[in-house]
Symmetry: C2
Subunit: 352 residues, 2 copies
């Protein structure tokens, strides 16, 4: 059995769960490598993956004997088969944040479950801490993103549209990775003042500021990086805002380590921004893994402390409505006594 | 109040529901026109839409006084506000097929709900029957799809990749509508033998068969059409399969009307395919509306009868593994005594 499934079995033991139904496809991918539609069922005797005809062949190509997972086609399972699965289980866990109320009732009926127990995102919590293989995939995705950034800053010329540049980034990712990990943002001029801008038909002009938020996937694991660059010499105001964002982004890198309070670090950046008359209008960062946004979140409302081998972003931003915005973001691995930025692209003024 | 909200209020009255929480964003779009993230809450006194800062401005731009919907920013609502919302409600409905078990428990706690009642997809069921405005949007989306098909068959040349052709279709839709209603399928040669193929880098060759599955959105409403075309003269086998699929597709159009059993009509097509040694390996059709696939489904497992002003696809297909496939699909409005195909593109042999 792989180490992640073994972890789950031990966790279930400690919670007095004899069985569990896992429905969240990201959690299933995490535990098994399977990226399909289906349900993972853990019983005292065996691990079962139930899927349908579309995926049977693929699933068999992913799994090895070592995985110890039996694959069933949903059409081959009878009423009795379902009722036998948890026959000797007193407590069966489920993902209350994933399945609908209708599915909850249906599972109890179909599997004849005695005691259906909420598991409080225990797999999501485990996913926050990355193992060596995961860190290796994340690091590769970040390296490709660094390379893509180098490529794109040598490519961008005034007159090109934001959409054209975003497409070029996507093409690069499609050639060199499993593709973009989210919708690439290229926001120029006043568009950069919107924190969640999408690439538009606006053409790049001289004296523009351009925010580029980009990332790709390797083995399902995501990278996430933002750089803000200049077309021609930036104004004093742009430089001041850039310097303020960058000094805070670097300050956060200095603070990120085992034990850092995500709430406090957010507050510190907010306070510094306020000193200069600016607001911190979005969270400071988020976990990155099989999902582009996943726990832990680095914000006021988060009560997590950072731990070794969490991978989170560090992305302060300042947005001046109708004028421009600056965001600088790295994907960062937390270590025992500090952190290590996995994205490494230039953060000095990049002027094209 | 608009007619759809008025319908809902009457329906709730008949079910003895004094309040309801609507979470499914497609149902909210249907009832209010709002296409955002938020929750629609119906109380005896008022209709409330709860959203966050990102959407407040947009939501106000969509609604008029006539809608009688009060908009709240979630951050402005206190614990007491929530507890007051259903103060005099004995029974409050919810969407058990949409909200998670965790949300179910959270709603009961937060709103202090006495009796939280499953509503058995009542809004989804109502959405099956389209009103005049909806039919007009669907018809427009289908007309644009017909035009796009005319354009694309004059554009396709051997040597182009499937992806290139799909992109051209998407560009057409982005220019002339709200964009594609699903991922455009262009499946050529042996790729056409996969019912759920995606556009690949395969280049179109002489003597290819090409399956093109395409649709767009107008006012949020989708079109869905498939045509199978030929590059150069088709073989006898291709013609025979094409003729068999087309005769069944037309047979279904003859049968579709108020009262048609979706299960029986599927069985009839399957029987005819079997006579010639082929299988019907996917459903015969599906509802089309705000979602590209929505109830009613036309398949064996469906127990719906068709009704006037349902809009469903008619899409039989035959797939010969490793060789080729043929699917022909129209989006069709059911009428009292027959049906009216909203997509009208040529179904004779199209040879390019």
């Amino acid at each position: 059995m792989n180490t992640k499934l073994q972890w789950l079995k031990n966790k279930m033991l400690s919670l007095d769960l004899q069985g569990m139904i896992i429905s969240n496809p990201v959690n299933i991918k995490y535990l098994t490598g399977i990226d399909a539609e289906g349900t993972l069922v853990i019983t005292p005797k065996e691990n079962i993956y139930i899927t349908d005809g579309r995926y049977i062949e693929y699933v068999h190509s992913v799994l090895t004997l070592y995985d110890e997972i039996i694959v069933y086609n949903v059409t081959d399972l009878s009423k009795d088969d379902y009722e036998n699965i948890f026959m000797f289980c007193e407590n069966v866990g489920f993902e209350e944040y994933y399945i609908t109320y209708a599915q909850y009732k249906e599972f109890i009926r179909k599997y004849k479950i005695n005691n259906f127990v909420e598991t409080e995102k225990m797999i999501e919590k485990q996913r926050m801490i990355k193992d060596e293989d995961e860190l290796s995939s994340l690091n590769k995705a970040c390296n490709i993103t660094d390379d893509c950034f180098k490529f794109i800053i040598s490519y961008i010329k005034p007159g090109m549209t934001e959409k054209h540049i975003a497409k070029k980034i996507n093409d690069y990712y499609n050639e060199n990775s499993e593709g973009p990990s989210f919708e690439t943002i290229v926001a120029s001029g006043e568009n950069s003042s919107k924190p969640h801008a999408v690439a538009s038909d606006r053409k790049i002009q001289t004296n523009d500021i351009i925010t580029i938020d980009m990332g790709c996937k390797v083995n399902g694991y995501c990278s996430d990086m933002t750089r803000t660059i200049f077309v021609g010499e930036p104004t004093e105001e742009m430089k001041n805002v850039y310097d303020l964002v960058l000094s805070n982004q670097k300050f956060v890198l200095d603070q990120y380590k085992e034990g850092t309070s995500t709430r406090q670090i957010t507050k510190m950046v907010e306070n510094d921004f306020k000193l200069y008359g600016y607001d911190l209008i979005h969270g400071l960062g988020h976990g990155v893994g099989l999902e582009i946004h996943e726990p832990p979140y680095v914000s006021y409302t988060s009560d997590t402390n950072l731990h070794e081998n969490m991978v989170v972003t560090d992305e302060p931003g300042i947005y001046i409505p109708g004028k421009f915005g600056v965001r600088i973001e790295d994907t960062v691995q937390i270590t025992k006594f500090g952190c290590s930025s996995l994205t490494k692209a230039d953060k000095n003024y990049v002027i094209i």
